[in-house]
Amino acid sequence: MSPTPEPRPAPRQPRADDGPARTVREMFMRGATRSLPFLIVMIPFSVLFGVVATEAGLDVAQVMGFSVLVLAGASQFTAVQLLSDNASVIIVILSCLAVNLRMAMYSASLVPWLRGATGPQKAWIAYALVDQSYAMSIQEYEAHPRLPLAQRLAFFAGVAVVVCLPWMIGSGLGATAGRAIPDDIALDFAMPITFLAMIAPMLRTPAHLAACFVAVAGSLVLAGLPSGLGLLIAAPVGMATGAFVEAWSEHRMRA
């Protein structure tokens, strides 16, 4: 393959509703409305964080501090858990940063799509870059590769508002109202189902399937490693597998 300056999406015909015709405002609304299903999970999960953190001894300001300044669900739960186990500050910080390290991969993966953004825009994107906003946006960018930068940014902003604000409000509610939600409605599984549902339609080529399969197998084999470490090994191995299969099938087509 030749080095192409533009991101090269997998061969796929743009749909009739392809992005360039949409205004910035429409893209913001599209990002916001497409993210609404996340709220089914996000609101109870954020309330739960408020409740759990309050039970661990944090006050409302600290709960909000976590949800506004850190804004990363899994690591917030990890921090509260470790703090109430009396782990040392350095252990708490390192474990939680390890849990969040996967976001460096999101950051790298967005570079081809958002590199033209200004410094402050990139800072806001970085602030709001969570699993949901990443997954939603990369899915949109790959499906509509010719969207202009302003529309890409607007879509991200729409997703981020719907995903991040309720997280902050919900944890505040949990900390003040502090009523435990029933734990028999299997909400634990909403997150896996949402992510699998987003990823499955993206598995378009043998290379995508291979990347996914190797990463999943690796994360299961390495599940015994401490927080987040297995993922940091399994995911790059999966990505390399995808790249390898892609290069190999291109080579074979040319031959």
Partner: protein, 110 residues
């Protein structure tokens, strides 16, 4: 306040974690500027979502915290149906609904 954890300690964790997490998220996007990435890096990055997100949830599917890490047929089936419907229909909402219905139906029957 918890007798064991002091207020300043909690705030120290919050602030350091906030800054550290921001820097992780900002890292490549912010520091690379407008430079081009090498083509082999671009090739790998195309597979970030399909590698990271399934690997993130795979252990939650196989060893759910809700069942104390025991294999759970309902959750395994729900994950399988979600992926199958997503692959077949290319619809995210359709896949979520199919997975949720499978999960609740199987939890209800058991």
């Amino acid at each position: 306040m918890n007798a064991h954890v002091s207020d300043p300690t909690v705030w120290l964790v919050i602030v350091v974690l906030g800054i550290g997490t921001f820097l992780i998220r900002w890292s490549f996007l912010g520091a690379l500027g407008s430079r081009d990435l090498p083509s082999w890096v671009m090739r790998m990055l195309r597979y970030t979502p399909v590698a990271v997100l399934p690997a993130l949830v795979a252990p939650l599917v196989v060893w759910p915290a809700a069942t104390g890490g025991q294999l759970d047929p309902a959750r395994m089936a729900a994950a399988g149906v979600t992926v199958a419907v997503g692959l077949w229909s290319r619809s995210m909402i359709g896949a979520i609904l199919a997975g949720a219905i499978t999960l609740f139906a199987m939890l209800y029957m058991s």
